[in-house]
Subunit: 223 residues, 2 copies
């Protein structure tokens, strides 16, 4: 197999970037080292806070993300991915540098969700993703879980807690969206799938990280 | 927490690099994104084959590894790690570029093994690690598992098979070293700990990848 080099604008958070890398490795379906794509990762936990930026209380992450993208391209990356939903509020800053070489997590997650004869999408996301209205580009109605419930769980996961209490609370959030009529759920924050699996949700669950990994590999594959 | 930037000379194999990244994330003990170190990873599966090089049938990986190291340093990495035991046969090529900024997996694994009142170390490694006599620098006798048993299991893991048959076979290899008098086992190939846990071995098991992650974080920590 031959591949384009993949660049990862990461660190938001670092565990989600590690999860994304593991999915790239598994998804390559390679029999030996040489059949994998080269992957360049910048796991940068110092990107300005997305929630603070969209609330107007902190600097925009856009210039830092564009700088990371430019640097990865200069290192030889030919396809770029950014495993963080909220950061896609500044996706246009990345696209200004990378153009069509950038694979958008929101587009890929919505496309995956629409493969289920979907009438209403439920998203589990944090404030910056919701305030940026990132999932409103879907062609069907989108309902969102209460950010007041989601954010503390995401904070716990970022702090390393992926235990049963966090997992149970996340499953309850998904169940609430199903009760409100969602027939597909998108785990629209890259920390969410670290505790929420398909078996814990009564309707199809779209793991945005997994969808991005698949789309990134598809864009990188040369034959 | 403040950290130096970590650079990872990776891709040997890609799954072991993903495992190493996950261990850096977990080991940072960070409560939020900003408390993690920045990590730059070059997961390059096109490094010349280590077994072929030491057998004299392929090119040396040394120049490629040194080039990756120089590039990571130029990107801002201040501490370098290479999660592949066999590649340390060319560690001096990396040290020529990085000096003391390079954290050596062999040194760290031996140091971890010697914390158990150890009289004889058993290593599970592939041919290039054994032929390079990398673990012979230990201050106690070292015995090695039969490479003819180890290599096919490593190949299976590199091909994505981490199932029970591979795990059981790896545990049997460890048991054989214990029967031969090893009182500590070093998982001295970064694919080995992907299927072998401490609970499957009757004596202390040193995961060289985990030891390298700890030592790398210690070298990167600024306070």
């Amino acid at each position: 197999m031959r591949w384009r080099t993949i660049g990862v604008i990461g660190g938001m958070g670092p565990a989600a970037t590690a999860d994304f890398m593991a999915r790239l490795v598994a998804g390559a379906n390679a029999a030996r080292d040489a059949d994998h794509p080269r992957v360049l990762i910048d796991s940068n936990p110092h990107v300005p806070d997305r929630n603070a930026a969209i609330a107007g209380t902190g600097p925009s992450p856009g210039p830092v993300l564009a700088g990371m993208a430019a640097n990865l391209l200069a290192q030889g990356a030919e396809v770029l991915a950014m495993p963080c939903n909220a950061a896609h509020g500044w996706a246009n800053d990345v696209r200004a540098v990378a153009g069509k070489r950038f694979v958008d997590i929101i587009d890929t997650a919505i496309a995956a969700a629409m493969q289920h004869n979907t009438r209403r999408i439920g998203v589990i996301a944090i404030g910056a993703t919701l305030d940026g209205r990132l999932y409103d580009r879907a062609s069907v109605p989108v309902i969102a879980a209460d950010r007041v419930l989601v954010q503390p769980l995401v904070n716990s996961i970022k702090g390393g807690d992926t235990g049963p209490a966090v997992a149970t609370a996340m499953a309850a959030i998904a169940a609430g969206l199903v009760a409100d009529g969602a027939d597909v759920i998108i785990a629209a924050c890259t920390e969410v799938p670290l505790v929420l699996g398909a078996s814990a949700v009564a309707v199809p669950l779209i793991d945005a990280t997994a969808a991005l990994a698949s789309a990134t590999l598809a864009a990188a594959r040369l034959g």
